[in-house]
Amino acid sequence: MAQPFMKKDDDRDDEVEYSPFLGIEKGAVLQEARVFNDPQLDARRCSQVITKLLYLLNQGETFTKVEATEVFFAVTKLFQSKDMGLRRMVYLMIKEISPSADEVIIVTSSLMKDMNSKIDMYRANAIRVLCRITDGTLLAQIERYLKQAIVDKNPVVASAALISGIHLLHTNPEIVKRWSNEVQEAVQSRAALVQFHALALLHQIRQNDRLAVSKLVTSLTRGTVRSPIAQCLLIRYTSQVIRESGNNTQTGDRPFYDFLESCLRHKSEMVIFESARAITELNGVTSRELAPAITVLQLFLSSSKPVLRFAAVRTLNKVAMTHPMSVTNCNIDMESLISDQNRSIATLAITTLLKTGNESSVDRLMKQITNFMSDIADEFKIVVVEAIRSLCLKFPLKYRSLMNFLSNILREEGGFDYKKAIVDSIVILIRDIPDAKETGLLHLCEFIEDCEFTYLSTQILHFLGIEGPKTSDPSKYIRFIYNRVHLENATVRASAVSTLARFGAAVDEIKPRIFVLLRRCLFDSDDEVRDRATLYLNTLGDDGSVVETDKDVNDFLFGPFDIPLVNLESSLKNYEPSEEAFNINSVPKEVKSQPLAEKKAPGKKPTGLGAPPSAPPSTTDAYERMLSSIPEFANFGKLFKSSPPVELTEAETEYAVNVVKHIFDRHVVFQYNCTNTIPEQLLEDVIVIVDSSDAEEFSEVFSKPLRSLPYDSPGQTFVAFEKPEGVPTVGKFSNTLKFFVKEVDPTTGETEDDGVEDEYQLEDLEVVSADYVLKLGVSNFRNAWESMGPDCERVDEYGLGPRESLAEAVNTVTNLLGLQPCEGTEVVPPNSRSHTCLLSGVFIGNVKVLVRLSFGLDGPKDVAMKLTVRSEDETVSDAIHEIVASG
């Protein structure tokens, strides 16, 4: 085939001459569509026009409502023609224009006629079209035909009906569910794909019935599955059944594992791969179970087909994250893939090797990677950079060569995301490997000398400001920073000024020199830069004297900014110019969405620059600061613990309220976070009325109402209770939200003067023993246990009764106690008959508590537990036992 080259060139000229759609125009084609109305239909010509219309739609052209309706009506005329080719195009056209509900009626009779036609092709296609455009009411009329079609002897018709069933199940589940018997019959069909479609539909019909799914899988794994793709589907359903039943088996053997393993010997690669992948994804898969799957994947690695190599290496890459040792056998095959033509495969091979490699192979690997980095795309480079970062954290001794590698690639060309990944990695290495700090900072300094990304420059400058002053020779970074003031844009200049000031504030020796530099910045052309320089010069004491920087000044300039910007923004918007100056302390510090954001956070990877060492203060700190700013709470002493927010309202109600329980030594403060979700209302004097009649030992001492609660801006009201000191007093409280409602016109924002008093019932709130226990892990449980000694040890045994599983029992007790599981002992290996869980924490009154829980299975489901508590105070040990006894 020597022609392709020539041909390519020719094609370019040809395209202009030969494309059948050259110069096509919507208006003209719509005109042409008039032939559909001719009394004597020319089937060939009509087909051509439809093709043109479809071409236009395919190219992204849109028809207006009127145009679409006209075309649709014209097309329906074509049902008169007996030409099969034309009919096919008509079906296609109807599906593409997807007529509106009132138009559908025009074609339904024609389509229903076709559904009962003797020609298989008509039946199959009419079903697909009709089900695509139909609505629920019509479906009832044609249901009978669809049921028939499912068991039609022509596989194309049966498949068409089954697939339509899968689509309709989303909109009309109750109708499709009635077809179970027919679908069941179709599962036994001899036609390969009919079986596949029937299986898919049957599973979807029964997916909420675990028992039925399990039965389905059991019968099919013993029977015959005719097509590879249906077999793949069966494997998916099987692993789903395994996943759902996994925890219940106690005999070591996993149900259906044999089936998955037998699929590894299937003749189709598709099935082999699907089952290998399913095995690697089993919960708590053992090395023995993994072995056969790894072996077939290893064979795939040397396949001639890129798709097969890719699939295998991608799966092995995932396995390497959890079972690196199982993958090491493949390392030799994997290394040969580094030079694979397909760069995706090469990248996956590299990152897998980085995960499974040992310390001695690091240098060799790095050499191979360096050669390969230049010719892969940015997104693959990012993957490699992330793999190298985790490798470096695994082998900190190798930081030198890995850091060198990172700095080398940092100098090369690359897009923003790639550079950001490298910078993030360096920052994380600096943070976690102290030895790497100085070299890392210098690499970053060199990078900002020639960095085209403002964002990265400012982030690095900020980071330098935090880390630089703590190094042995801070002055060597000054040059790099001051260069920015000369060479960069205003944003970078401004952050360079801030960084200089940080150095000045932190390191007294270089303070005078910093002042000289800052004074030069006073003549900058940009406002922000000048303002910052002035601010720093004035606050840091520009009197030439070398004085230690004031702590207050430091806090003011560089302390964490703990007011949520959203709240500040809304407060500033609401602020009306008046005698009274805007007071930043009046801005609410609590954002309702905060807990949500926190929940999401662990899912993300740590982004180096986003989380510098002086990271955002913990929630407890934030709460503590907020509470101490309220004078009435100031004398309660130190905050012991704040619970996570508990929702007191259903989602999407008029008023959303959640509560945080703050535990003090002798007091409990409930912080109600309220959000008003009605734009037409302004709430005033919001207070929660707490009925503590079910909590006798608590007495209300104080409540702080919320003066006004405008729409969508969260606010807090507090209620404080006194309780016996140092005792885990428990109780139940019922809450009612009380307030004055004022109507607001959402368009003008005007508020009516007179409000109406109203109440809103909230859910009950409980203070439980776990609220008095603070989670606090210990690094070495055994040492802590030994040093605590058996003086205040309390041991007892409990029968927990029948439990779903051991893991569930461990979980329940741990949550009940509210203690921190240590050394990963909260994870129960599957199928174990006994388990020991170690917990630690601090009890109210700052008493350390260590707990050893031994669980054992007693009989088929009954769980017995031995609870050993050690603490510094025997009453506390008793209290812990009481928690369990009463829970």
Partner: protein, 180 residues
């Protein structure tokens, strides 16, 4: 993991020319709601795969959390896209089915001009492979047969082409080459 317990699904099938322009495309998922986002995706995929050699064996890549299996012939680029937890080999079988069917339908003259001249067949072919994301058929000859079954009266099916027709096709190609 999400693929467990779910039916294999296809997000789109693309047939682009050597400049990345559409010949025929079909989307089955809502990941690309507007025409512009579709075009952007096509451009992105095209440029990312352009330099690879996918002429003998189908190639594969992972872009924006989608698995893309592709194959190039002459000036045509075939793509099949699925989610990142989809079985690559299932997607590859769909691509192979599409490719085989197109080859049969275009009587082995797989290039852009031929594809555009027989666009109706290509569109019907897409319609017979996947319905709303669910795989209908992956066997190339079967797909081609379903597409051409209507033309029983007009043209003979491919396997039963008469000698005259074969001659006509050959002559047509000859004239075309001579005209260049």
């Amino acid at each position: 993991m999400a693929s467990n317990g779910q039916c294999p699904s296809i997000k789109n099938i693309l047939l682009l020319d050597s400049e990345g322009k559409r010949v025929a495309v079909k989307y089955y998922s809502d990941d690309w709601p507007t025409n512009n986002s579709k075009l952007a995706f096509e451009k992105f995929v095209f440029s990312k795969t352009l330099k690879t050699n996918a002429r003998t064996e189908a190639e594969v890549t992972l872009l924006e959390n989608n698995i893309i299996i592709y194959k190039f012939v002459q000036d045509l680029h075939f793509f099949v896209t699925g989610g990142d937890d989809e079985n690559e080999l299932i997607l590859a079988s769909v691509l192979q089915g599409f490719f085989d069917a197109v080859t049969l339908l275009l009587r082995s003259n797989v290039d852009k001009r031929e594809a555009l001249e027989n666009l109706d067949l290509i569109l019907l072919c897409l319609d017979e492979i996947v319905d709303g994301g669910i795989i209908l058929e992956t066997n190339g000859p079967l797909i081609a047969e379903k597409v051409t079954s209507h033309s029983l009266d007009a043209d003979a099916p491919l396997s039963e082409q008469t000698l005259t027709q074969a001659w006509a096709t050959a002559r047509e190609h000859l004239t075309r080459t001579l005209l260049k």
